[in-house]
């Protein structure tokens, strides 16, 4: 944790500097007759962030915050495995949306999580994998009129069947 604390403070400091620099694309001072420039608000806020990272670093040196006292690793073996399996699954889910549609990606993610991570039975897995995306489809597309991404054109015939039910 101790190492993670100072690295994170460093990353936050760099982010603050980047935000300050980015804010200067607009005026960061006071413009007579117009008030504070468009960049002033984020510039000074990022400045305060930078000062805060300095205090976090001081607390790290003085070992006054709990993470700066902890010698445990930020991520242990279980944490790394969990991050890869759960975080990777989520990453895959979102990456698949533009290919096999939101509903298709939802089904694949449910299959992966329920069967391979949750070790649930095939029957429960298949029931949820099919019913939930279809349920979501009718809720969003028919009731709420919110259109979700449909992926590449090969998914079209499938969605035509569902749209025929709505209209």
């Amino acid at each position: 944790m101790r190492l993670g604390e100072i690295i994170t403070a460093g990353v936050m400091a760099l982010l603050s500097i980047y935000l300050m620099w980015k804010s200067t694309e607009l005026n960061v001072g006071y413009i007579t007759g117009e008030g504070p420039g468009g960049g002033a608000w984020p510039f000074w806020l990022a400045g305060i962030m930078l000062v805060c990272t300095g205090f976090i670093a001081i607390n790290w040196v003085r070992r006054s915050s709990p993470p700066s006292q902890s010698e445990e690793p930020l991520l242990d073996g279980y944490g790394k495995k969990m991050l890869v399996l759960v975080g990777g699954g989520l990453l895959g889910f979102i990456a698949l949306v533009d290919i096999i549609s939101m509903y298709g990606a939802m089904a694949v993610f449910l299959l992966y999580y329920l069967r391979f991570l949750g070790r649930h039975s095939w029957s429960l897995t298949l029931i949820l994998t099919t019913s939930l995306p279809i349920g979501f489809f009718f809720f969003f597309e028919a009731l709420m009129r919110v259109t979700m991404p449909k992926g590449l054109p090969f998914t079209e015939p499938f969605f035509n069947i569902l749209y025929n039910i709505i209209y």
Partner: protein, 507 residues
């Protein structure tokens, strides 16, 4: 007495069979729309507006107001059961609602939310009935400096009383405010903070993207890791007896929050451009501030659920006030309601009370009836929400992730935001591990779009003189309280240091 007579007439209007039916359907629909992340009362009201052309204007607005009411109740459901705020008005409910659910006390959180919402709504209805025209005038006195002072107070309650690491809390607030500034500069119209020229940043960062990233993804990954995947909330139980005892416990421990939320929420709700979200966040902050045990807030305190829930219901009624009396909407939902009224041939404003008394008092009467129905419908559905929590965590977790992704997309309908939400989720997971408080960042991204324009308008009014926040009769005291709260941790630190050498002479 005249008001009482008019109100009685109004209640009879809303008790007509068609109106009763519309109220029942409206609050039920609103409850589920409000509970769905990414969808709020504004979506429900906007989508169902065309349906109302089939019924008389009085019934139509009663139906839409019932949806609005139901959604305010519903927002708490996903905040508590899933840890994802259903709407911005329920962000603060997540802070204590989710920890209560994780402790197996979801029923306490849900019942507290329902009862506090009912009380908040009832207090607001009474205030609305008695003081409507007078309060509308008071709200107009609030200019940019006063509203900015209120925002400052909201941030100050988080800084001064957090008990968390102070530099991390301030950093979290500033980060949220900077994220709220992404997109276009509202005054000059120039693009601002468009990182790496990615066009998705041009429409700004929706608060839900950060809120769902933090609570739906980051918090979930953290929970799975910290409990080694053994997490379960199957202790959650529900019975009629349980509802009564939960209601008693919720009110015993959350009465202060309910009272603060009911009054503060109503007042913030009537301010133009404020609405229920700042009302609920401020009520949470003030409840924490006056609590004897502020450190229990954020760990699962019923007062932390009662305050924002009472406030958002109270504010939703309050937001109707400037709409009806002045024709100024106090929130996006009331803006759509206002549009509906114009379409139905009604002219909102001071003359509405004299020209269309049956319409106005019918609507006010429906607030009372909707509030009762919303409580009954909400309590009836609590067993269903509890049942959801009794699902194995390996079923609930992918459901929460799916709702997060779908909710993140539904809010802006842009995949850029879904990717951003994932990045925020991973970032929040690491920051959470390092004890960075993330609730202040969510608070800041919600209030940022109000805080920045009011600050700039105020400084423009005063030609750059910042003392405008101290010299105005309403803004001054609020600013002074906010400054004291911000400086409170520094005073505490100084006090501890002065005590330190005496109590520990060795060093």
């Amino acid at each position: 007495m005249e008001i009482l007579g008019l109100l009685t007439d109004g209640i009879f209007v809303s008790l007509q069979p068609i109106n009763i039916m519309l109220i029942l359907v409206g609050v039920t629909l609103g409850l589920f729309i409000g509970a769905m992340p990414g969808l709020g009362s504004v979506n429900g009201v906007a989508i169902l507006l065309p349906i109302t052309f089939l019924v008389p204007p009085g019934s139509a607005i009663i139906f839409l107001a019932a949806i609005y009411y139901g959604a305010m109740y519903g927002g708490a459901i996903s905040s508590i059961t899933l840890g994802i705020p259903g709407a911005s008005t329920a962000v603060a409910t997540t802070f204590d609602g989710r920890p209560l659910a994780l402790k197996g006390r979801a029923s306490l959180a849900l019942v507290t939310a329902a009862v506090a919402s009912f009380i908040g709504g009832s207090v607001a209805n009474v205030l609305f009935t008695i003081f409507a025209p007078l309060l509308a005038k008071v709200a107009l006195i609030f200019g940019p400096p006063e509203i900015f002072a209120l925002m400052l107070l909201a941030f100050a309650t988080f800084v001064g009383l957090g008990g968390d690491d102070l530099p991390k809390t301030i950093l979290s607030i500033c980060l949220g405010l900077v994220f709220a500034a992404v997109g276009f500069d509202e005054i000059s119209g120039a693009p601002r903070l468009v990182f790496f020229d990615i066009s998705g940043f041009l429409h700004g960062i929706n608060f839900l993207v950060l809120a769902i990233g933090v609570y739906g993804i980051g918090e979930m990954i953290w929970t799975i890791e910290s409990t080694r995947g053994e997490i379960t909330t199957t202790e959650a139980k529900m019975s009629v007896k349980g509802i009564v005892s939960d209601a008693k416990e919720g009110m015993r421990r959350g009465w202060k929050g309910t009272a603060i939320g009911s009054f503060l929420g109503f007042f913030v709700g009537i301010l133009p451009a404020a609405g229920a979200t700042p009302g609920s966040l401020m009520s949470y902050g003030v409840s924490k501030m006056i609590s004897k045990n502020p450190k229990e807030f954020g760990q699962g305190h019923p007062g932390g659920v009662a305050a924002p829930e009472a406030a958002n219901n109270s504010a939703s009624t309050g937001a109707m006030l400037p709409m009806l009396t002045l024709g100024i909407p106090g929130s996006p939902t009331t803006a759509i309601l206002l549009g509906g009224m114009v379409i139905w041939g009604l002219t909102p404003g001071p003359r509405l009370f004299t020209d269309q008394p049956e319409f106005v008092w019918g609507l006010i009467g429906s607030f009372y009836i909707s509030n009762v129905f919303a409580l009954i419908v909400n309590l009836s559905f609590i067993p269903l929400f509890i049942w959801m929590l009794r699902m194995p965590f390996t079923v609930l977790a992918p459901l929460i992730f799916i709702l997060s992704v779908v909710g993140g997309y539904a809010a802006t309908q842009d995949m850029h935001d879904v990717w951003l939400m994932l990045i925020f989720g991973f970032g929040a997971y690491f920051l959470r591990k390092l004890d960075y408080p993330l609730a202040p960042a969510v608070l800041a991204i919600v209030l940022g779009p109000i805080a920045e324009p009011t600050l700039r308008q105020s400084l423009l009014l005063s030609s750059g003189d910042a003392t405008i926040f101290l010299t105005r009769p309403i803004a001054g005291p609020i600013t002074v309280i906010a400054i004291i709260l911000i400086l409170l941790p520094a005073f505490k630190m100084l006090k501890d240091r002065m005590k330190g050498p005496k109590s520990n002479p060795a060093g």
